[in-house]
């Protein structure tokens, strides 16, 4: 009796699930089939036909047009803004927070939220066509700290990447373990632009992070990874004689690129690098920056530990990066300083506030929001 009922239950549930799944896939096939549609870019200078039903961001990427997106299409970064003149449908509530009234009037939309359902006419800034996708091989995979890995990629023979120091690339993961989909995340480049056939990244393991877990546990030296880029407006402006660079954790990566690039180019501006970390075990590239500090008069390195390990020697700053910045620049003319920040949203907000309090115009404080 018992086993009969168990069997019946199993069959019923399976049957119901199968029927519902069938109905859903049928509905998806019928309802999500928008046929072949035409996408026309920049007044017809580029035109192609695609199958509808996907987001505009994904559809463009399939056609080798890469729009910057740091969040991977979740409508949290607002980077994939594009001017769409027709075919985008009504504005979605998910887009509203990222579009100013003026942008709304000028047909700006988030490419990751707009679904391709019919013919579309849109505009894409020419420089985005420079963005390329590379299948690079992992040359070095090294532990910088207990949770940050150095990933050094070699581009395929004959290919080059042209980027400005401070910009970022997108990393595409392959499906692994329970993750069935390809995902992508943005990481800042930590190597110098003059090295055009290599790219380096410092990637910190984020607990449960899909892409960082992939990099830390799945990826091996010699593997191929897909990256696209470069993206971002975080690069050296050079309009003031002094620059403050502040980074926390893996936020040191783009600052390393900026500093090395500036030194290579002989930039004479004073550079103050404030590096925030928790304890001694979170420090990396210390030798490099200490060496640079000794060698170049215009580079100053101030590492700050918020919770130094008492069992290990530490003679640097204790606490967050804000107090040293405040102390060092309280008498300086804020309008003559540029700020370059990279770190968590909380870090960005607090350091930005400290800088604004010092009289640095907020238009001279640069950072990427991830």
């Amino acid at each position: 009796m018992f086993s009969m009922q168990t069997l019946q239950t199993v069959f019923s549930i399976t049957g119901i699930s199968v029927i519902l799944t069938l109905i859903i896939s049928l509905a998806e096939k019928k309802l999500n089939d928008y046929g072949i549609v035409k996408i026309s870019i920049n007044e017809g200078s580029r035109e192609f036909e695609v199958e509808g039903g996907q987001t505009l961001l994904g559809t463009l990427a399939e056609n080798k047009i890469f729009i910057p997106s740091a969040c991977g299409g979740k409508a949290t970064c607002g980077l994939c803004k594009l001017q769409i003149h027709s075919g985008a449908g009504p504005l979605l509530p998910t887009e509203e927070p990222y579009l100013t009234p003026q942008e709304r009037e000028n047909d700006f939309r988030l490419a990751c939220q707009v679904k391709v359902k019919g013919d579309m006419v849109l505009e894409i800034p020419e420089e985005l066509f420079n963005i390329k996708e590379f299948i690079a091989s992992v040359e070095v995979l090294d532990d910088l700290t207990h949770d940050i890995k150095l990933v050094r990629l070699k581009l395929p023979e004959g290919e080059e990447v042209k980027f400005k120091a401070g910009q970022f690339m997108q990393f595409y993961t392959k499906p692994y373990g329970k993750i069935k989909e390809k995902v992508f995340r943005a990481y800042s480049i930590s190597s110098v632009p003059s090295e055009q056939d290599h790219l380096e990244f410092c990637i910190r393991q984020v607990p449960d992070g899909v892409c960082t877990t992939y990099v830390h546990t799945v990826l091996e030296e010699g593997d191929d990874v897909a990256v696209s880029g470069p993206y971002g407006d975080f690069y050296y402006r050079g309009d003031t004689p002094t620059m403050i660079l502040a980074g926390a954790g893996s936020g040191l990566a783009p600052l390393r690129s900026l500093i090395l690039d500036n030194i290579e180019k002989g930039v004479t501006a004073d550079m103050y690098l404030y590096f925030g970390a928790q304890s001694q075990r979170d420090l990396y590239y210390m030798d490099l920056f200490q060496e640079l500090e000794e060698k170049y008069d215009n580079f100053h390195f101030i590492p700050c530990l918020s919770q130094p390990d008492p069992n290990e020697p530490w003679d640097g700053e204790v606490g967050r990066v804000n107090p040293p910045i405040q102390r060092d620049f309280k008498d300086a003319d804020g309008s003559q300083i540029e700020g370059y920040l990279c770190g968590s949203p909380a870090f960005l907000a607090s350091v930005r506030q400290t800088m604004v309090d010092l009289g640095i115009p907020s238009s001279q404080i640069y950072y990427d929001e991830f």
Binding site: S12, I13, L31, P90
Partner: protein, 197 residues
């Protein structure tokens, strides 16, 4: 139990005397979470009403033509939940295709509604009370409207409250609970009109 009750009475009763939120306290999570702005609250209210009616009707058919004949009453919870989840997904695809304006307004709420207890609650009440098709239709419609009305009332008050000086600690969920409790007390006043439990 109550097959003889007029569907119209059930309709009115499910809005006032048996209000989903204020009498049964169902669907509280989204009620508290999405009620700080009147505009979004109306959107959610509409979406809940729509999904409630559609799922209740489909579940009525599933119950009477599938579960009962096959003797699967003990599986009704799972079946109802699966049906609701599938329906919401199809509804979203359908709206995206044919009603893009409505989708732009309600689309974000639909996945949220799948796990709203008011939706499953309405289906289960309908089964427990042996409603026929017409009664179920008006019951689910009334329940949806009642839920919509309750969240709009709360949202409107919370919006006004945003400008008021509240004791610290009471702002946010605290005051929302108090308002809900007082509204529920006020709604007890309706309970004399009909006796439809």
């Amino acid at each position: 139990m109550a097959p003889q009750v007029s569907p119209l009475v059930i309709f009115i009763a499910s809005i006032f005397t048996n209000n989903m939120i204020l009498a049964n306290f169902l669907g509280m999570c989204s009620y508290l979470a999405i009620s700080s702005e009147y505009k979004t609250a109306t959107g959610l209210g509409k979406a809940v009403s729509l999904v409630l009616v559609i799922t209740a009707m489909v579940n009525w058919l599933v119950y009477h033509y599938f579960i009962v004949p096959l003797g699967l009453e003990y599986l009704q919870f799972i079946v109802f939940i699966l049906v609701i989840a599938a329906l919401v997904q199809i509804l979203e695809l359908f709206m995206d295709r044919y009603l893009p304006d409505l989708h732009a307004n309600l689309g974000v709420f639909l996945p949220l509604i799948t796990v709203n207890c008011a939706i499953l609650g309405a289906t289960l009440f309908m089964v427990i009370r042996h409603y026929n098709f017409l009664q179920s239709l008006l019951f689910s419609l009334g329940s949806g409207i009642g839920w919509w009305m309750a969240i709009c009332m709360l949202a409107a008050m919370r919006e006004k409250m945003g400008k008021a000086k509240l004791p610290p600690g009471l702002a946010g969920p605290g005051i929302a609970f108090l308002i809900t409790g007082i509204m529920a007390l006020a709604f007890v006043g309706f309970s004399g009109i009909f006796a439809v439990q």
